[in-house]
């Protein structure tokens, strides 16, 4: 039980903090959150600044503690969020770092860090959401390429992505978990059609992706053919285990902001509301501690987070929704104004119990993989 940082880590924190303090004031305003091309440019621009200043390698090369410090400090300072770089930095990149060949690491990781290339995640299909392993998009080997045909859905940032971490079925005869392969697909390949879907917030942050005989070189396969489910588990463990870490810090910052607003507008005098904020603050603090515990475990077991990520995600996704409901209680009528970040964020928080595996699926995972209860039919 050691929460302290080494001198070296503290020096890193101090340097980063100083750099953020000097850099953030000169930063342009964030573009309209509904304008994804503008968001991509902005998010990648920020990633480039991190890269140039030597702060971009925290995602898979740095020690987990350093990664936590990075997330803690950037969020605390109110720096831009990873945004369009989410998939690349937080799960495709870590998967390639853990499972890719030397050549694949060299090809894909630096552009992610520099903010040159944006990734999206092509896992879900219209008939394969929670039951991901039943996916049907097929890939047939033709010489040195896979020829991919099928449809993906809910693909976040597909409109602005350069690469897609794509799951395909390479052996239709094998049991459903066995015939899957993980590919890196260039989004500008012929045969790809992206049709944006409008979210309930009015944004086109995700899309349907139609694949018609798209050729993906065999060298773009991460892991072995038909061993994609195992690679997928690595991706999902990053997605659930560590990808939300920075957001927990952000939620703690938002709670502070809410408390200040409440003290100003008088809602703080309501003990019920005040206590509700107190409870949420205790929960987000505990979630941060749970993250530190999960990251410590991952570090000790070779870098890939375990099923503890599902424990975290379950509580986090609900707490985040409660945070925005509490915010609405503090803000009153302002919470109905779509022009405020709060309102948009409240709407997006509704996806947290669905995306990256629904709460029901997370409970199945916790019950079956951690508690050892029998698998349901």
């Amino acid at each position: 039980m050691d929460l302290s940082c080494t001198d070296e880590e503290e020096a890193y924190r101090a340097r980063l903090r100083e750099w953020l303090a000097a850099t953030l004031p000169g930063l342009p305003e964030r573009p309209d959150p509904l304008d994804w091309p503008a968001r991509r440019a902005y998010d990648c621009g920020w990633q480039r600044r991190l890269y140039d200043a030597g702060y971009a390698d925290t995602h898979w090369d740095a020690s987990p503690t350093q990664r936590l410090i990075f997330l803690e400090e950037t969020e605390r300072a109110g720096a831009p969020y990873v945004g369009a770089n989410f998939v690349g930095l937080l799960h495709a990149g870590p998967t390639i770092a853990a499972e890719g060949t030397e050549a694949q690491r060299a090809r894909w990781l630096p552009p992610i860090l520099r903010g040159d290339e944006v990734w999206c995640q092509g896992f879900s299909e219209p008939d394969a959401g929670s039951d991901l392993a039943s996916l049907r998009t097929k890939a047939v080997r033709d010489g040195d390429a896979y020829v991919v045909t099928g449809q993906k859905i809910w693909t976040s940032h597909a409109e602005v992505a350069d690469w897609c971490e794509l799951l395909v079925r390479t052996d239709p005869e094998a049991p459903k978990h066995r015939g899957i392969t993980w590919l890196a697909m260039p989004m500008d390949a012929p045969g790809i059609t992206v049709r944006p879907l409008r979210t309930l917030a009015g944004s086109t942050e995700f899309a349907e992706v139609f694949l018609d005989e798209v050729r993906v070189p065999v060298s773009h396969r991460v892991g072995e053919e038909n061993d994609g489910w195992r690679v997928t588990m690595v991706t999902l463990s990053f997605e659930r285990g560590t990808a939300f870490v920075g957001e927990v810090v952000a939620c703690r910052r938002l709670l502070g902001e809410l408390a200040r607003t409440a003290r100003k507008n008088g809602t703080w005098d309501d003990p019920v509301l005040r206590r509700r904020l107190g409870r949420l603050s205790a929960e987000f603090q505990a979630l941060w501690r749970l993250t530190q515990a999960n990251v410590s475990e991952a570090q000790a077991s070779g870098g890939v987070p375990g099923a503890g990520g599902s424990v975290f995600k379950l509580h986090y996704s609900h707490a985040r929704q409660e945070l925005y409901d509490a915010a609405a209680a503090v803000l009153g009528p302002d919470a109905l104004d779509l022009g405020r970040d709060w309102t948009l964020d409240r709407l997006s928080s509704l996806s947290y119990t669905i995306a990256a595996g629904t709460s029901q699926i997370q409970r199945n995972i916790v019950a079956e993989r951690i508690l050892g209860l029998p698998k349901g039919r």
């Binding site: 050691d2 880590e9 003990p271 904020l277 205790a282 505990a286 501690r289 515990a293 916790v366």
Partner: protein
């Protein structure tokens, strides 16, 4: 940063678990429930094992361990429902002669309640006018002290930040709650794995599975909070940890009871003992209302 137990801490936890299995197994628990008295021999054995002197410096005959280690030990105590004013006696070990060795039983006035008043040799706090309560928990006799606490919790968070001693009592009580929440999770899972209905074990039913998963989430979150608060010693973090640990202990006991069905509602199942003790502990150290106010004041 490495927020896992060190080897020494793991060994300590295993040692305490084995010790308690020997000193206070389920049979001992059930006979303590029927006896309703504090077992002085048990108290002395706990003293001999260093339970109370855990954090006293070795020069004073203690074990010289810290708050994180104490939290692990009290988690184990909570797991087996160890009876008696263990927290108060532990905290008195440096100041009340005999407490460290388990020769003397020390209790304290806490949120207007005094556990084990009739059995205690020393009471910390003023018990003038204390009246006996028919305690809901058969293993925690209670008195109430008029004029202090009770149902009208004062909402004055800022002035009521806990003092060091009180904060430690709060944290160790929270650790017991985590242990209890873990015990009811284990019991529910074990029952769900063996009890069959409709031709399969009930643990295969998603409605039951999801109750169990929810229990694990609560206990893991509360444990992370308690361990971290033990490391930082921060009063606001301690208040938050108590809040989550109370919630985990009470709600997990209820869900455990639900998983046990009719069996859960009997005196024979241990679930009710966990639930009742969790209710008592939730009123001790720091109540939910005060914990929420304390954390809010830190915002």
């Amino acid at each position: 940063m490495d927020f896992r137990l060190t080897e020494d801490q793991r060994a300590l936890r295993t040692g305490v678990r084995e010790l308690l299995a020997r000193l206070f197994d389920r049979e001992a628990l059930r006979s303590a429930v029927s006896a309703g008295r504090l077992d002085r021999d048990l108290w002395r054995e706990l003293g001999d094992a260093g339970f109370f002197a855990l954090r006293l410096p070795e020069a004073e005959g203690g074990v010289g361990l810290g708050l994180p280690e104490a939290v692990l030990v009290f988690e184990e105590a909570g797991r087996v429902l160890l009876p008696g004013p263990v927290v108060a006696t532990h905290l008195a070990a440096g100041s009340v002669p005999g407490a460290a060795e388990g020769a003397v039983v020390v209790t304290s006035v806490d949120e207007g309640l005094v556990p084990w008043l009739d059995e205690a040799d020393v009471v910390v706090g003023d018990v003038t006018g204390a009246v006996s309560v028919r305690s809901v928990d058969p293993l925690t006799p209670l008195h109430r002290v008029p004029g202090t606490g009770g149902c009208a919790h004062p909402f004055r968070p800022a002035e009521r930040l806990p003092t060091t001693g009180a904060a430690e009592a709060t944290l160790l009580t929270a650790a017991e709650q985590v242990g209890s929440a873990q015990a009811t999770t284990d019991a529910a899972v074990a029952y769900a794995r063996t009890r069959a209905q409709f031709g399969q074990v009930i643990g295969g039913f998603q409605a039951v599975k999801h109750l169990c998963a929810g229990m694990l989430v609560r206990v893991e979150l509360a444990r992370a909070a308690v361990w971290a608060a033990a490391v930082t010693g921060d009063p606001v973090e301690i208040a938050g940890a108590k809040l989550l640990a109370d919630g985990a202990a009470v709600r997990n006991a209820r869900d455990c009871l639900q998983v046990h069905g009719g069996m859960g509602f009997t005196w024979e199942a241990d679930v009710h003992l966990h639930l009742k003790r969790a209710w008592v502990r939730a009123e001790l150290g720091m109540t939910a209302a005060r914990a929420e106010e304390t954390v809010a004041a830190g915002l």
